[in-house]
């Protein structure tokens, strides 16, 4: 690599920062944007590193999936996924054989090209918000099956080597622990590793995250989250399993954890960057010399690959009774070659299954089809869907929106919990965020859905569903955090109605000044109730005391809003404040002294007595 790490970083980051916004602007999604940033010629090295983005993406996808949902998806994963890989392999191998290749090579190529690109498809679907549609879910199921299928394919490939073919180059990049073991022991080791991940996720990670959260250091949590992903990936590579699959499993195990949102928001930026790097290196991996030398052949192969995959997918979609919309989406998203093809092809080359020049050609074809995916999907969206679609995607299954509650409560202390319980008792779903890990722990034991995290962070708000929610109740203890959260929420989620708890007048002024409407001083109601009780104990009638408190509250709220506007003018503020206090005192005194001035004059007969003398009562 010329220029060292910083130079490389400079080139890649510049390419990303420039090309991604342009692609987004053109409606092509960030994937193509990254791929457009074609730079350098050391794609393979970077690709290897950037594959980690895919690993992280699968971890995040796992976090979104509760185990019960994966189980419910077993039919599409095994049925649809299995058929896709099987049928596509057969058809592609048939084509290759027909083109004159030896049958073993043809099968190897079929297996390799049957796989699609998890990274590109999921990223594109997520960006377009199509992941939860029927077609999106089916695509996901197929991709999941393909990821699992890579393991047996890797095992089968060496067997496809023509007799006498020499093994090129060294062995694996990573030495696995299972390299020398017999098949049954290998399986046992893999199973043990999976079991280890499940058990650790259940029993070890919870206390660990709780311990880390209690330190209050945000960067430590980020480090722990990264460590979790990298450790899982490493373990899986050591036992010879796809690291993406391992982290996906870890994600699923942690999907029910209260640290889910926090983990998500910590990993998210790393995933985004590494994935971007990955897409860039896909672009960089293309051998332009080769493409330039045989453009017709490459274009033909590319068209053929896409056509075969499209056809198989469309038929499968039909068999699995997808609607035309979803079937088109399904077929067009998966009609490319995948990143695993690069791995499998280099593996196959090493074992002499596929020749060097053939492999180079195929890599170019796969990379080009990957780059073409966003274009294909846009084509489907803009040209095919409007013509053949029935717009059935509008009616998505409702049960998928499991945590899209109308209310988010930030802070679940004494204050927030009372608000939350009142809403819950009335059947209003709430998503609760709290920064106190001990409290989160306790509340979850009580069966409440509470998530750990700093609610003033944009990413956490987003993953808590701020985009769909209607109300955000800010019940944080810290005034500083409260102001931060209010500012963030108003800037990024202007549709949210904010209900804000404030410690006192000062904070209330700030928020009222900022244009907030629903501002609640947290001590107002309890102090008024205390005052009412004191009056009653002194001998006031219960309702009289109650009415006095009602009057006081109304007056005080009005004065608060009036004073908020003028608090920057010190002299005016003090004068007005004095005047308001005098007004209120007078008002309340009048209640006792002079009935005519009282608010509740209707309940007073004094004016009647004055007007009519003793018999006034007859008339009313």
């Amino acid at each position: 690599m010329q220029g060292g790490f910083f130079y490389q970083a400079l080139v890649y980051l510049t390419a990303a920062v420039i090309s991604v916004p342009i692609a987004k602007r053109l409606g092509l999604g960030s994937v193509l944007g990254y791929a457009l940033g074609l730079v350098g010629d050391e794609g393979q090295d970077v690709l290897h590193f950037a594959e980690f983005g895919v690993v992280m993406m699968l971890f995040l996808i796992g976090l979104e999936l509760e185990p019960s949902r994966v189980w419910r998806m077993r039919a599409p994963i095994l049925g649809l996924g299995g058929l896709q890989v099987g049928v596509t392999t057969a058809v592609l191998a048939g084509c290759a054989a027909a083109a004159g290749l030896e049958w073993r090579i043809a099968v190897a190529i079929g297996l390799t090209l049957a796989l699609s690109s998890t990274a590109i498809v999921l990223q594109t679907l997520a960006e377009k918000g199509l992941l939860r549609t029927g077609g999106g879910q089916s695509s996901f199921a197929v991709l999941l099956f393909q990821d699992i299928a890579v393991i047996p394919i890797l095992a089968v490939l060496p067997l496809l080597a023509p007799p006498g073919a020499a093994v090129h180059g060294g062995g694996d990049h990573e030495e696995t622990w299972v390299a020398g073991l017999p098949g049954w022991a290998e399986t046992l080791v893999v199973l043990a590793a999976v079991l280890l991940i499940v058990l650790a996720g259940r029993f070890l990670l919870q206390p660990m995250f709780r311990f880390i959260a209690r330190t209050g250091l945000r960067e430590l949590f980020t480090a722990a989250a990264l460590l979790l992903v990298i450790a899982t990936a490493t373990l899986m590579m050591k036992v010879g399993v796809s690291p993406a699959l391992g982290t996906f499993l870890a994600g699923v195990v942690l999907a029910r954890s209260e640290y889910r949102h926090e983990l998500e928001s910590n990993i998210e930026p790393f995933k985004g960057l590494l994935l971007g790097l990955f897409f860039i290196s896909v672009g960089a991996a293309m051998d332009f010399g080769l493409i330039a030398a045989r453009p017709v052949l490459i274009a033909g192969l590319m068209a053929a690959l896409i056509a075969v995959k499209l056809l198989v997918l469309l038929v499968l979609g039909r068999v699995f009774r997808m609607g035309i919309d979803q079937n088109l989406l399904f077929a067009f998203s998966l009609a490319q070659g995948g990143e695993f093809a690069f791995v499998l092809l280099s593996f196959a080359t090493r074992y002499g299954v596929v020749g060097e020049s053939l492999a180079a050609t195929l890599i170019a074809v796969v990379a080009l089809t990957m780059a073409a995916t966003p274009v294909l999907m846009t084509l489907n969206e803009k040209l095919l869907q409007p013509r053949f679609g029935t717009l059935e995607s509008a009616e998505r299954p409702a049960d998928e929106i499991d945590e899209q509650n109308p209310v988010i409560i930030a802070g679940f202390g004494e204050f927030g919990s009372i608000v939350g319980r009142l809403l819950l008792a009335n059947g209003v779903g709430t998503t609760v965020l709290d920064i106190d890990s001990d409290r989160v722990d306790l509340l979850r034991k009580l069966g409440l859905k509470v998530f750990y995290g700093d609610a003033s962070r944009e990413d956490l708000l987003r993953s808590a569903g701020a985009e769909q929610a209607r109300l955000l109740i800010v019940a944080l203890d810290s005034g500083e955090k409260c102001a931060e959260l209010v500012a963030t929420a108003r800037r990024l989620f202007p549709h949210l109605t904010l209900l804000t708890r404030v410690p006192g007048r000062g904070a209330a002024y700030e928020l009222l000044d900022a244009g907030l409407e629903h501002v609640f001083r947290d001590k107002l109601d309890s102090s008024l109730r205390t005052g009412v009780e004191a009056l009653r104990l002194l001998g006031f009638r219960g309702y009289q005391a109650h009415r006095a408190a009602q009057t006081f509250r109304r007056h005080d709220e009005a004065a608060l809003r009036e004073l908020a506007a003028m608090r920057h003018d010190q002299a005016l503020y003090i004068n007005t404040a004095r005047q308001r206090i005098r007004d209120l005192e007078e008002l309340l005194q009048n209640d006792l002294r002079d009935a005519a001035e009282s608010r509740d004059a209707g309940w007073d007969t004094e004016s009647l007595r004055e007007e009519h003398g003793a018999d006034a009562g007859d008339e009313r």
Binding site: V407, R470, T497, A601, G602, W603, E619, R620
Partner: protein
């Protein structure tokens, strides 16, 4: 219609909630008088079948101010000055409520006690409401034949409404023949829709002066033979 208690949304009026809504008249330059003020009082409108549909039928009626009292004053803390101002601004006041225990829901009583002040609504200087008109729009659970001297309720509906009639008569207001929906307990949706249509037509006719009040006064209730009462016939909402 009973509402499902598991609510996925948070009710209609989150955010800036207007306590009352005015539907502007098309005819510009018309005086602010001669407008209708509907005071709705139902302590559990979300459980109501009929009052909710009646309210929906007139909520946005042209030239009408719709004022939901239980929504505005859930804590019975009636804003006397504002209520008096609203009354002064309107000519026809409609008091819409279910007929609970031969009377109004308690918030209307609170409202009457506090808003109809001596020296403002009645008494020597109390002339603010003189000449205005009041219409009771009520729903009863019992059927019409129960409101007879020989019936279950032993009195006619007009007799039972006498306290309300007299309250506003004392304020110098004209008490119109009441709009009464009887038999609210066992009513089909189709019947309810019919009453809602009648309610809207009645208020439109009152607003436009096309209702034969003299003939209406000879009936026990306004909506008994509505088609005959409304001049120019077929106007329908």
């Amino acid at each position: 219609m009973l509402q499902d208690t598991r609510r996925t949304d948070v009710g209609p009026g989150i955010g800036v909630r207007p306590v009352y809504s005015r539907a502007p008249r098309n005819t510009h330059g018309a005086e602010p008088m001669n407008e209708t003020l509907i005071l709705l009082a139902h302590p559990a409108l979300e459980k109501s079948r009929i009052n909710r549909q009646l309210a929906d039928a007139v909520r946005n009626l042209e030239g009408t101010t719709f004022h939901d009292l239980y929504e505005a004053y859930p804590d019975f803390d009636v804003d006397v000055r504002r209520e008096q101002q609203l009354l002064e601004e309107h000519d026809l006041v409609v008091l819409q409520h279910p007929f609970f225990w031969y009377s109004t829901p308690p918030l209307i009583k609170q409202w009457e006690d506090l808003v109809l002040e001596h020296g403002w609504a009645y008494g020597l200087q109390g002339t603010a409401l003189r000449g205005k008109r009041l219409l009771s729009a009520i729903t009863t659970g019992g059927r019409e034949d129960a409101y007879r001297p020989d019936g279950h309720n032993r009195f006619t509906i007009r007799q039972l409404l006498a306290p309300i009639e007299q309250t506003f008569a004392l304020c110098g207001m004209e008490y119109l023949p009441p709009f009464v929906v009887h038999g609210a307990l066992g009513m089909t949706d189709e019947e309810i829709r019919g009453h809602a249509r009648d309610y809207r037509r009645s208020l439109e006719a009152l607003r436009d002066g096309s209702l034969d009040l003299e003939a209406a006064g000879r009936q026990p209730r306004l909506n008994l033979r509505l088609d005959e009462l409304i001049r120019d016939g077929e106007e329908d909402g």
